[in-house]
Symmetry: C2
Subunit: 224 residues, 2 copies
């Protein structure tokens, strides 16, 4: 499953799954899980560069990714962990100014969440290496400054609940990724900075990712 980023078809990203993060953006804490889709073309693998599209204010959201190991629909909570093959550290990059406009106008989030390189992703971590996915520390630095430092203990909806909910709407397939939401501390990132994120269990680091940030070259430019 090392190469789930190559054959997986879906990235399902949960929003507002940490109450401190919901509050920092002025959002209501939800009563059921809410999610959106990111395209797999947004994966950014080791060795690449994180691209900031022109005119976009881009925020980092460090998250635990859950890698699905077999196909399932209407998966019950009690069975859900049997569908998990492993984990990966991910960052759900978000063009916050575009997302704010979309939210106000009632439009989809797909552009603000879906640019190429907007899902930096770490190596596949086999399930056996994380005994309790609800006790994982997630951290993120811009250059040398810590910006996010949270724990999956604070998730509002746990992983079995997320799998049951998503699979009651859309079939999950081997290689799909569920991003489980970000803890608080999100903020903007700029070309010239370096973004580093890590996933620790009991103070042991299991995954680190590091990417230089550049301006996206190309046709896209957001103008108010």
């Amino acid at each position: 499953m090392q190469n789930f980023t190559k054959f997986g078809k879906k990235i399902v990203a949960i929003c507002r799954n940490f109450s401190e993060h919901a509050k920092e953006l002025g959002n209501a804490v939800p009563t059921s899980p809410t999610f959106f889709l990111k395209p797999t073309t947004s994966y950014l693998l080791s060795g690449g560069k994180l691209e900031i599209p022109k005119g976009c204010i881009v925020h980092h959201e460090v998250e635990l990714g859950v890698v699905i190991g077999k196909d399932g629909r209407d998966i019950r909570k009690s069975e859900a962990m049997n569908y998990v093959e492993g984990y990966a550290l991910g960052i759900d990059m978000t063009a916050r100014n575009l997302q704010e406009v979309a939210k106000k106008k009632g439009l989809p989030w797909s552009t603000s969440k879906g640019f190429d390189t907007f899902t930096p992703i770490g190596e596949f971590i086999p399930k056996s290496e994380i005994k309790d996915p609800h006790n994982v520390d997630l951290w993120l630095k811009l250059n040398e400054e810590i910006k996010q430092n949270g724990t999956t203990k604070d998730m509002i909806f746990d992983i079995p609940t997320l799998i049951e909910h998503v699979s009651s709407i859309m079939k999950l397939e081997k290689g799909d990724l569920i991003l489980t939401g970000t803890p608080s501390g999100v903020g903007p990132i700029h070309p010239g900075q370096v973004i580093t994120a890590g996933l620790n269990v009991n103070d042991k680091n299991l995954s680190t990712i590091k990417f230089p940030v550049v301006e996206r070259v190309g046709l896209f430019e957001y103008k108010l």
Copy 2:
């Protein structure tokens, strides 16, 4: 490319690309293309049944699908048709009551657009069979009653413009589908009905799809 539904990873669906349809839902006519993502798990192929999730008011939107033939990013309008391998008739099924709530709350459209079976799709049509994709008739019937009867002449943004816009945000890959928006006449569909849709060029039918409509059995139920 007959099996683009098997290996393709993205369905990019354009919204409000026909002004009569934008008006019928009370939406502003857009000044640039807007899109959302549907999961490929939502494809419904010949022989299947269209499922209506409990508590959902589900609308039909008949659309011309464009099948991408090679990978590209920042594809210019002038080159865009070289990336088109063919076409397919599609229906962008929408849980309209869930979408209305999402729009009011500024939440993503992924649930309302993403249920299993929510993208009924016809056979691959090679590019050579449709000389002018901007002169294609699209029609849809519920049982024997015609509900939609439009032409791609009325698109606000043409196919090259859509390809340039989407690929300036997210890379397009071989097998991806772009649904180009629906003409007016959308409306609800209920278990027990039969939905039939067709794609005609100069009064010649190139594709017809037909599906029985059933209630979705499973865990999902929408309650206000």
